[in-house]
Amino acid sequence: MSAFLLATGTLWQREMVRFLRQRSRVVGAFGSPLLFWLLIGSGVGSSFRGAAAGEMNYMEYFFPGTVVMILLFTSIFSTISIIEDRKEGFLQAVLVAPVPRSAFVLGKVLGGTSLAVAQGVLFMLLAPLVGIPLSAIPAALGMMGLVAFGLTALGYTIAWSMDSTQGFHAIMNLFLIPMWLLSGSVFPASGASQWLKWVMMVNPLTYGLAAVRWSIYGAGSPATLNLPSFAVSLAVSVVFGAILFAAAILMTRQR
């Protein structure tokens, strides 16, 4: 077990160091969601004041959605390094080392999760600007970690079978961004047309974002009206993360 943890720990540490050494990745994963939030938030906010999100200011409504976008970007992009590892050869040494494949997967997924949560926390320092207290940060840590874990595992299963980063970007645009758009991040399900409601209902990220909202606002806040219940949100997120993590291990064992 300690050999397992030693291997997982060292691979986790490698992810941290690599990320911090690549300035453009730090800026990219944090900067573009920030820009999105400012531009879309203020644009949509002043055009459709209070239209869909009840009494809530749109900048505030869009804030947790932006947190989830940061989690999505950081965790997904951290798994692109699997494609690089395979190309540059680091992976071949890991695969012939006397450690279980699951230690490699866990190190990689926890690495992406940690980076995503760290970036999410950094963005949440802006929370007081929209009237959310800073105490929401520690309250939301667990749910942010859970959502990031599932998203990193999802990124892993996509990246594992890819041989180029271009293919990965295509999936990001065609599949992951729509998944985020239809999670209740930009507009609530309550105001959407019927077919969109259905899509949002089967989208696992809807429940991830709801779990984050619940953890920020707690029970009894108007901000959690019309959301799936906390129990359902938590359960779906746990199951989503567990299934994708298991899938990542299975794929890695096969080759």
């Binding site: 691979l11 040494a93 006397p98």
Partner: protein
């Protein structure tokens, strides 16, 4: 089985989809041996390297390393082998020391033991002064040395190297071989390497020649060359086919044309050369006389040249 055996390969076959890379290869490597897998690119040696390094299991057949099966007991095998890849398995964004630290931990080393081993290996391979440098700033030769240091951190009993000399300048190649011999002599490490370089295969204790996934020859380099018999004579001519036929007829020897040159194997070649030149002076541009090399062994056993094959 005798514990004198480091590697035992029994009838291994491997296919990538429809393409057959290995077709029933068997051999043994003794402990303390430097064993070479020689063959043209595409001959199957890298597939064999990957199977023995436990990168993937063979389609069929069995391979054991120190008695452990590479398929069912991969973890036991992995603890006892050091693997040096052709394309170094280093993280190019990290420093030399960071790479070695990660590699050591994957083999269960930690704390002061790990730091001591890293220091020792970096000194032995003369990369200690580059410990803090990012790997991508190092030359190919230095990267190979760091890769070798990484493969040796856990003191493996068997070192498996894929084309260790590719991309090294002659000086670095000589250093590498001095170090491999040192490892074998001082520490009894068994060494198995793949190569497509004739002169590198010559330095091994025994050589297995692979062609199109099958064993062509297996013995010490000297024995293989002696089996050719005598000398190798290569004649350049503007009319090689005609000359070849004429030589066959006149001297009743087994001449053949390779790459536009006539090639003859013959005892006491120097005497034969003068007879040749006397007989066909008008058809001969130049003649070379040489002791057989492993390439000649390859030609003799397969009927074609080493470099043309495999594409």
């Amino acid at each position: 089985m005798s514990n004198n055996i480091a590697v035992e390969v029994l009838n291994i076959a491997h296919s990538y989809g429809d393409r057959k890379a290995l077709a029933g290869v068997s051999f043994q490597v003794k402990r303390g041996e430097i064993f070479g897998l020689l063959g043209p690119n595409g001959g199957g040696k890298t597939t064999l390297f990957r199977i023995l390094s436990t990168s993937f299991p063979p389609t069929s057949g069995q391979a054991t390393i120190f008695g452990s099966d590479v398929r069912s007991q991969a973890e036991a095998v992995r603890r006892r082998i050091g693997v040096v890849f052709q394309n170094p398995s280093l993280d190019k964004k990290l420093t030399v020391a960071e790479n070695l630290r990660h590699r050591g931990r994957l083999y269960g080393l930690r704390g002061s033991l790990l730091e001591d081993r890293m220091k020792e290996m970096m000194e032995r391979l003369a990369v200690a002064d580059r410990a803090g440098d990012i790997v991508e700033t190092l030359s190919g030769g230095l990267q190979r040395r760091v890769e070798l240091a990484g493969g040796l951190l856990h003191r493996p009993e068997l070192l498996i190297l894929d084309e260790p000399s590719v991309g090294l300048d002659p000086g670095a190649r000589r250093d590498l071989w001095l170090y491999l011999k040192h490892l074998r002599e001082r520490e009894g490490v068994t060494i198995l390497l793949t190569t497509h370089l004739i002169d590198e295969a010559d330095r091994c204790d025994r050589v297995l020649i692979l062609n199109q996934g099958a064993v062509v020859a297996l013995d010490t380099p000297d024995t293989l060359k002696e089996q050719i018999g005598g000398d190798v004579i290569v004649i350049s001519s503007r009319t090689p086919d005609e000359l070849c036929a004429a030589i066959r007829e006149r001297f009743a020897v087994d001449a053949a044309v390779f790459n536009g040159k006539v090639r003859v194997e013959r005892e006491s070649g120097h005497a034969f050369v003068s007879q040749l030149v006397d007989a066909f002076s008008g058809m001969i541009d130049s003649v070379t006389l040489a002791k057989p090399t492993l390439e000649d062994v390859f030609i003799a056993r397969t009927g074609h040249r080493f470099w043309e094959d495999g594409q």
